[in-house]
């Protein structure tokens, strides 16, 4: 069990003109027992951060603390953390059993203890029939389980998982998502899980840490981040389809605020967004989630939008419409129940739940907070 703390931790690869600043002084505290997700696009520094925690990558600047003790210069072998790699990194010349026993033998555990632990974990992960096989004789899903098992038998202070599910097919991935969450609940051990898959991020973690370009953009519980994205990057990254983002202008008309965009005027009762008053008269980026558009008025402050259907994606339980706002407005997506019957080219009226609208500052891309009265 361990808490992990990063204080202005940075990592620079190389030096001089060719130096790559992969992690740019990030601050983060992962609490003991937490399931923390590192989410971000490829190359944003997730793996580098995880590898620094594991001790496989030197820390270029800042302090890394495990359970309050600075571990910047502690050998990976001494950190008592288990890492699961994307490519599993199973020892090809050893059987599954020997793979699992490797770390325990190094620690000098007695044979009987090693056998018990392997038997327990093998049962939990259903890899008992595979114990005498070699990695080359396993399927991808089986290798993934064995890699996980090798980490589990260690009973480490924390698990570090670097995209462990990304090489699995969709079905197996969703099974393993659930299993990992169950495992975490059962063990209560700190887990840090790296992924670029926002479904994993939303469903697995107790908190998500969203990274971009070597920096942390936002940290929070999944619902929190979903409800209040800190900037357009987070808004456009989480959920599929992501939040619709299009340019507009915030105008004050008497007591009311109106968002004017190409092809639409959306009234926003000023009382629902006291924080926005100060931005009247300015250009903004409007953020509207596809699921906050509905055929019938919904929420405390709905606003009707005139749209035309461009494409229809019937997914079964729901339908995604790609629509044009007004005649020449921006293209936006809507997520609707599947029972509608739409065709390309058809005009539709949808109601936006303006209580769930977001505004972003076009200059900084940061969210403009609604202020105290923000009701969800």
């Amino acid at each position: 069990m361990a808490s992990i703390e990063l204080n202005s931790v940075s990592r620079i690869y190389g030096s001089g003109a060719s130096a790559v600043h992969a992690v740019k002084g990030i601050d983060l505290k992962i609490e003991d027992g937490e399931f923390m997700i590192f989410l971000g696009p490829s190359g944003c520094g997730k793996s580098t951060t995880l590898r620094m925690i594991a001790g496989l990558e030197p820390v270029s600047g800042g302090d890394l603390l495990i359970d309050g003790a600075r571990v910047n210069d502690v050998d990976p072998a001494e950190r008592d953390l288990a890492i699961v790699f994307q490519n599993y990194a199973l020892y090809p010349h050893m059987t599954v059993r020997a793979n699992m026993a490797f770390g325990l033998k190094l620690r000098g555990l007695p044979r009987s203890e090693i056998d018990t632990r392997i038997a327990d974990v093998a049962r939990v992960l259903s890899v008992e029939p595979l114990l005498n096989r070699r990695p080359a004789q396993l399927s991808g899903g089986q290798r993934q389980r064995v890699a996980l098992g090798r980490a589990l038998v260690r009973e480490p202070r924390a698990f570090l998982l670097d995209e462990p599910l990304s090489n699995l097919d969709a079905k197996l991935r969703s099974v393993m998502r659930t299993e990992l969450v169950k495992l975490h609940r059962k063990l209560g051990t700190t887990m840090v899980h790296v992924t670029h898959d926002q479904v994993e991020a939303m469903t697995m973690g107790t908190r998500i840490c969203i990274m971009r370009g070597g920096e942390i953009v936002q940290v929070g519980r999944p619902q929190e981040v979903y409800r209040n994205p800190a900037d357009t990057f987070v808004a456009g990254f989480l959920a599929t389809p992501p939040m619709n983002l299009f340019p507009g202008r915030l105008e004050a008309r008497g007591d009311s605020l109106v968002l004017v965009a190409e092809g639409a005027e959306i009234p926003v009762p000023a009382a629902t967004a006291p924080g926005w008053g100060g931005h009247a008269g300015r250009e903004v980026i409007i953020g509207l989630r596809p699921e906050h558009l509905a055929e019938a008025p919904e929420g405390p402050a709905p606003a009707a939008l005139q749209l035309s259907v461009e494409t229809v994606e019937a997914l079964g339980p729901e339908t995604i419409l790609n629509l044009r706002l007004g005649r020449n407005g921006p293209e936006i997506a809507a997520r609707l129940p599947a029972d509608g019957d739409w065709e390309a080219g058809q005009p539709v009226t949808l109601h936006a739940d303006t209580a769930r609208l977001h505004l972003f500052d076009p200059a900084t891309t940061r969210s403009i907070p609604r202020g105290a009265a923000h009701a969800l």
Partner: protein
Amino acid sequence: MRPKLAVLARHLVLAGFSAAIALPLLWVLRVSLTDKLTAYKLPPEIGQIGLHNYAEVLTQYDFGKWFGNSVAVAVAATLVSLPAAAMMAYASARYRTGGWPLLLGVLASQMIPPIVLVLPMFLVFMTLLPVPGLVAITIAHVAVNLPFMAWIMVSFFDADTRSLEEAARSDGASRWQAFRMITVPVAMPGIIAAGLLGFIMSWNEFLYALILGDHGSQTLAVGLASMETHAGVNIAPLAAATLLALAPVLVLLPFLQKYLIKGLSLGALK
């Protein structure tokens, strides 16, 4: 049918190449089984065949001693250079020690004709390192073969074994334990291939063995050459001796091929 024709054409080309390579060897085999007079006849004749040349080589010459010297030199040179080359390859692959200039330098050094290095090498052993012939030859072979063996092994220590080692380090292994218990066994086919190659290079080497050795330390390559005296070439026993000298290499080659291929396909094991 077209595909069959294409296959036939390909086999004809390959058969041609194989014949070009095999012909000299077959010629030597023929000579080794006949006598001196028949050997030079054109067009070639098979004549009276027998094993008398082999008997002559084994009884009239120091063949046994040459063979023993060659075995001693090649085995010693390989045993000394292989671990060192493995560690050098590891350092280059894992820590980029020396960077690409070192690797390029190693490759470039292989392109220098050995004759260029022989004289300096001779002076070194004359003045700085006056050791017995067999030891001098062994050291020379280590010096010449080690960089090349390391160069061959670099690719076996690359990316794949790196993440395995990281896994081992997290599992609690020290650098040395990870190298010994994970990296070396996984890269073993490559290490064996490099060792076999080093052995064969040492076995076949002539120039250093000639210059650095004395009468007691003649290796097979030098001994065979000495069968060519100013009194003439004793061609038939020489052919027999050549084939006998070739035998160990022929035995090793299939293994070399097997391990090279096994090593090269290591990546598939991931």
